[in-house]
């Protein structure tokens, strides 16, 4: 089983690398040619990046902020208030996925070609059920093996789904499924008394946070999966403080939580070809790769400032992709990516918004 996972991962990375510039498989090197983008600093002295305002072309979703909603390139997925069903719609096409008795919808993921709806057991004792929709044909299917763990972190990129499962002896493992053949397999398993979370996936790779069982605060490490499907720590974060992570064309974006008592306040960084950038403050747990970029949310930094969605681009620039209409008392929900389209809920005293925009 593990061998198949490694093969799938290797294929993913190879395809990503080949599509860029046909260089050998590596998680690092397929970035822009040297000289065309800014170079960062050292690990100890990263280059601070000033953001530029470059708003995306935001459109109103037409649904209330807080509603489960994912917008894709052609399709949109809308959940009901009770998390009992998801309506997938495109022009004249529509597919309805219902949770079924004793289950609720816990995740809705979308890529350009696939949608995945996870149905969690309400009692959280039985494995989650995974419904799959081929967005080309509208046909539905499922991923039955390996059994998906209840809850946990999920990620989808192109036709590859990443999700938690339980392996031998109750080990908490990472599974992957190639949706085209509805076949999944388990791979790397977290060592005893450790776990993983914060999965992100893009054409550039799969990121995850691993952590131990230290108390009162776990020791956290952010990783990118190597070609064998084994998490390899990202070089850069201070020991035990990392949280978010996402692969980029030439490195990674990650966050650190410097003060355990301010869990939601993170500092984001990026690596690029072995150099380092300080991306400034952001909200813990909000990093998501989408299109060619990695996004994360930032709370208002002053009474007169809006909440912002930040975008780290392949050109190594930091952009302000969105600003909330409210200043001061405002915040953003987790940005959601659906096949190159980012959807964002914005909350604030001057009103909420729920908007989407194409990234590329």
């Amino acid at each position: 089983m593990r061998g198949r996972t490694a093969t799938a991962l290797a294929l993913l990375v190879v395809l990503a690398a080949c599509s860029a510039d046909d260089r050998p498989v590596d998680l690092q090197p397929d970035g822009p040619p040297p000289g065309s983008s800014p170079t960062g600093g050292t690990l100890d002295d990263p280059t601070a990046v000033e953001p530029e305002t470059a708003p995306l072309d935001w459109q109103d979703t037409g649904v209330e902020a807080g509603t489960r909603y994912v917008r894709g390139a052609e399709w949109e997925a809308l959940g009901d208030a009770g998390d009992t069903r998801v309506e997938l719609a495109r022009d004249d096409d529509a597919v309805t996925i219902t949770a079924g008795r004793g289950r609720t919808i816990s995740e809705v993921l979308m890529s350009r070609d696939w949608a995945v709806v996870v149905k969690q057991d309400r009692a959280e004792t039985a494995p989650s059920e995974v419904a799959v929709v081929d967005l080309g044909s509208g046909e539905t299917g499922e991923v039955a093996t390996p059994p998906a763990a209840s809850g946990g972190s999920w990620a989808l990129t192109d036709g590859d789904l990443w999700f938690p499962t339980y392996g031998d002896g109750g080990a908490y493992c990472l599974a992957t499924a190639a949706l085209a053949d509805s076949n999944g397999e388990d791979g790397w398993c977290a060592p005893d008394r450790s776990g993983f979370s914060g999965l992100t996936a893009s054409e550039h790779g799969v990121g995850m946070m691993t952590f131990d069982d230290a108390r009162p605060v776990t020791c956290r490490t952010v990783n990118l999966l190597d070609a064998s499907g084994v998490p390899q720590p990202v070089e850069g974060p201070a020991d035990c403080t990392a949280w978010d992570v996402a692969a980029t064309a030439d490195g990674a974006v990650w966050s650190e939580v410097p003060k355990p008592r301010r869990q939601e306040e993170a500092r984001f960084h990026a690596s690029a070809d072995g150099t380092y950038f300080d991306l400034g403050p952001g909200t813990t747990g909000t990093a998501v790769p989408c299109g060619d970029s990695v996004f994360f949310a930032r709370d208002p930094q002053g009474p007169d400032e809006p909440a912002r969605l930040m975008r780290w681009t392949p050109d190594r620039s930091l952009e302000i992709a969105y600003e909330s209409p409210s200043t001061g008392n405002a915040f953003l929900g987790d940005p959601v990516c659906g096949g190159g389209v980012v959807t964002l809920a914005s909350y604030g005293e001057q009103g909420d918004e729920h908007v989407w925009a194409s990234v590329s």
Binding site: G66, A81, G82, D83, T84, A99, T104, I105, S106, Q120, R122, A123, E124, T125, A149, S150, G151, G152, S153, P164, G170, Y172, A190, D192, R193, S194, G195, F196, S197, M209, F211, D213, R215, P216, V217, T218, W243, P260, R261, R262, Q263, E264, T283, T284, G285, A297, D299, Q301, G302, P303, G328, N329, A330, F331, G333, D334, A345, Y347, G348, E349
Partner: protein, 410 residues
């Protein structure tokens, strides 16, 4: 990673729940004694608080540090008794109610005490009975959520239907009596926080309140930049998935009594079951088992609907409680990922301990709180975080508003 696998946890949960069921809280000797005490105390005049300079007027919350300016308990007037009897009599409709809608409508019964409306299970509110019943009629959303121990609409309805008429009447009489005797505090909160004028003759009717005049002006200019109460050691993780109430109460009780009692002690007093804990029970136990309800602190705790509060008013309530009253707030948020972005999954309604503020002049106002929910205990996909937290207070306000009851214990 998890201390116990889920199936084991669930077995434990149901076993404890069954044990609770064998002796409902309303039959507990302590509860009966507390109810009897509440009924017999009557109109004990409580001395006004505040220093010499404050004598004869409402304690200026924005300026006090040593004088909390809290409100004591008032008496139970004949009009209040009659109102309580009226609402209790309407409870007979619950015995005949069939179906969710009828049960919800029969459950939400409101009393009006001196112009303030108190609704059973929801607390002091400006909402109509119909609006509150509609909240109960709506099935809890986010069924995927991990349940952390707040009694949701299903739980409230099940409890309403599960009680005998005698037990229900007894519990509701205690709840309404406690509420009626707290109406002076509710008026004062609405006056000071929301700017509602006090009614004519209020001071005379409420000697427990030093005769009040003006509402507090401004936002937080008179408060210190930052203030907090309670030592961090009282912030403990809940032992069981559905014990956010007992863990919250453990921290509050520990802060008051100076010694730790285990969460099972508090679960018994709160009447916690595997369905969770009701906020009305949280307030009842704070009033009965801590000194935070004394006039040297917050006065009698009340369940207060904040759905008509602005953020500034809500934050002011936090500052008043923490800095002037030196008393914790029973926070009542929805533990959803948009409000708590470090969580992997949405969780349910929840209890937390509000214990600090930081006006953070250069940034956004911050709230300090103790978080009993340690997701890592029950889920190998989530790492442990600190129990002591500070954060963007506006997030907590919105999480509070998102809860179907929209209330806090203050």
């Amino acid at each position: 990673m998890p201390a116990l696998p889920r199936p084991t946890l669930r077995r434990v949960a149901h076993r404890i729940a069954d044990e609770d069921a064998s002796r409902p809280l309303w039959r507990h000797p302590a509860t009966i004694a507390a109810a009897a005490l509440a009924l017999t105390l009557g109109a004990v005049p409580l001395l006004p608080d505040g220093g010499q300079d404050d004598r004869g007027e409402i304690a200026p919350s924005a300026e006090t540090t040593g004088a909390p300016g809290a409100v004591g308990r008032g008496g139970l007037t004949p009009a209040m008794r009659a109102e309580i009897d009226r609402v209790l009599a309407e409870g007979a409709a619950l015995d005949r109610a069939q179906g969710r809608t009828a049960t919800a409508r029969a459950s939400v019964r409101c009393a009006t005490f001196e112009g303030q409306r108190y609704c059973l299970g929801f607390g002091w509110t400006n909402q109509s009975e119909e609006a509150l019943a509609a909240r109960l009629e709506t099935r809890p959303t986010g069924g995927t959520t991990e349940r952390t121990g707040d009694l949701d609409a299903d739980g409230l309805l099940a409890r309403a239907q599960g009680r005998t008429s005698t037990a229900r009447t007894e519990a509701e009489r205690a709840e309404l009596t406690m509420a009626a005797r707290s109406v002076g505090k509710v008026w004062m909160l609405r006056h000071e926080i929301q700017g509602v004028p006090l009614p004519d003759g209020f001071a005379e009717r409420h000697p427990e309140v030093t005769a009040g005049v003006d509402a507090r002006g401004g936002f937080g200019a008179s408060y210190p930049k930052r203030s907090k109460i309670l030592t961090s050691k009282v912030a403990q993780a809940q032992n069981t998935t559905y014990w956010c109430g007992p863990a919250t109460m453990q921290a509050i009780g520990w802060g008051s009594q100076g010694k730790r009692k285990n969460q099972s002690y508090w679960a018994r007093r709160l009447g916690t079951t595997s369905a969770g804990t009701a906020i009305t029970d949280m307030v009842r136990v704070v009033n009965n088992k801590t000194d935070y309800d004394e006039d040297t602190h917050a006065g009698p705790y009340v369940v207060l609907d904040i759905s008509d509060f602005t953020f500034k008013q809500w934050y002011r309530l936090m500052m008043r409680h923490v800095h002037d009253y030196r008393a914790p707030v029973v926070l009542h948020p929805n533990l959803h990922t948009q409000y708590y972005p470090y969580l992997d999954d949405d969780a349910s309604g929840h209890f937390q301990v509000g214990r600090g503020f930081d006006q953070n002049p250069g940034g956004n106002p911050q709230l300090g709180w103790f978080e009993p929910w340690d997701q890592s205990r029950f889920d190998p996909s989530e790492p442990a975080i600190g129990r002591v937290q500070w954060r963007n207070a506006y997030r907590s306000f919105r999480a509070n508003l998102d809860h179907f009851q929209h209330n806090v214990g203050v």
